[in-house]
Symmetry: C2
Subunit: 269 residues, 2 copies
């Protein structure tokens, strides 16, 4: 058995887009074998949580999309940055200026109570216009203590077969202009992974994270003490296998292959 | 006499926007006293060159704007990143994908000879859409050796009284996503300042740079061995006076005040 499988596995974290399905028109396309792989994990009795930085839609819409593809998932299995950032904003009494996808603005209604005191940036796609970037920039420059919360910090994702700039790039632009650093909520933030692990009652050393993002998924999980498995689906490109700093514990062709190995190790463990 | 004036001054470099005039509708607004200040420098016989990162318009259009305001300037007095980057592209046989203002695309006609092998990013304002950023990103990701030439690297500039994100922010976004570094052509690149100094036949130690950008103008000039004077016009904000790393040799209320001191020192020197 490969050395990454020699330690016990008691829980699994999965990225969604690029691992369960490929993003595309409407609900996208299932990655062959992923529906059955998730079922096998559940049948084997291995706790599973989904950790996503996707903030194009509400968790409710995301679950509907997953159900459409026949994934056995409920909303509470999904950890996404929006509930996480809202609890930070409430704790600290902050009012956000939103640079996020219009679909999820409604989720912030309870914290939009007055003049903004910070900026929240998420997946926004076409909303990342010069004008909207400038509005966020000017607000940050007007604040005595500018704070920028980034819902994830990815470099790029894949949509309809094409790479697309992700939120980390636009957060970096604001960081540079304002001489600040983002506070990342979502992967690869250790607190974010910790919340999902804690929900399963599993320690980082007992968990495996499977994702298509070499930095946020694999590198982020490894920094927390988890094992990180990269899949050759989603935004994967061959250059990921020679990443200068992140070395995955294993590179699987897809979720199905990774799950077969995890289940074998779980049964022996 | 202040200590920054004790060494001889044999040449002066000036930034244009925010020092000679404020950007705005049409030709913008002259900064009071700047036309006369430039005339006094010339009457005193002090060599002057203008070093700008502005790439919203061709040098020809920039000179027309300056003449409209009665500045005594000719095109060869102006050092701008466009001719500088074109000579780099020609030397190295590179073909650019342009992420620049449409006004200056025509200047690149002689190097647009086939499939792009690098990206050139300049002041682009509304052209910095998600779609255009993505096109540049995807091209960079498709190149074996991705190269990004940035025409300047400013954080922000001032337009119609409002701060606006500058090219450095959007270059940073692409750098982050592609894991590369920009090659900056224009301020604060030492080669760029050196070309203007060499044209005057003046060494860095004998020259003063006057600008409204604490990092690109003042910090950049100081790194080359020049004295750097900040003006309280243009994009200046009070926070510049407490910049964590750049300490100007002098902070003048405007170009006119800086020029009076420079001329006094020149006459005594």
């Amino acid at each position: 058995m490969s050395s990454w499988l020699s330690k016990p596995i008691k829980g699994v974290l999965l990225d969604i887009t690029g691992v369960l399905y490929e993003a595309g028109e409407g609900a996208g396309t299932v990655i062959p074998g992923s529906v059955e792989a998730l079922d096998r994990l559940k049948e084997a009795g291995i706790p599973v949580r989904l950790v996503t930085n996707e903030t194009f839609s509400t968790r409710k819409v995301l679950v509907e999309k997953l159900h459409h593809h026949n994934f056995s998932i409920c909303e509470t299995d999904i950890f996404s940055p929006v509930p996480a950032v809202i609890s930070v904003l409430k704790e600290q009494g902050l009012i956000p200026h939103l640079l996020v996808h219009p679909e999820i603005e409604c989720e912030f209604s309870e914290v939009l109570t007055g003049h903004p005191t910070c900026v929240v940036i998420g997946d926004a796609d076409e909303v990342f216009s010069f004008s909207n970037m400038n509005k966020a920039f000017k607000l940050l420059m007007s604040l005595e203590k500018p704070r920028l919360f980034a819902l994830g910090y990815g470099k790029y994702y894949k949509l309809k077969g094409e790479l697309q700039l992700d939120v980390g790039a636009f957060a970096s632009a604001l960081e540079f202009a304002c001489d600040i650093k983002s506070e990342v909520v979502g992967k690869p933030s250790p607190q974010f992974f910790a919340a999902a692990l804690s929900d399963m009652g599993v320690s980082a050393a007992e968990a495996v994270m499977v994702g298509d993002d070499i930095v946020s998924d694999v590198g982020g999980a490894q920094k927390c003490g988890m094992r990180g498995v990269l899949v050759r689906t989603g935004k994967y490109i061959p250059a990921c296998e020679n990443h200068p700093t992140v070395k995955p514990h294993f590179i699987a062709n897809n979720l199905s292959e990774a799950v077969d190995l995890i289940i074998q190790a779980y049964k022996k463990g």
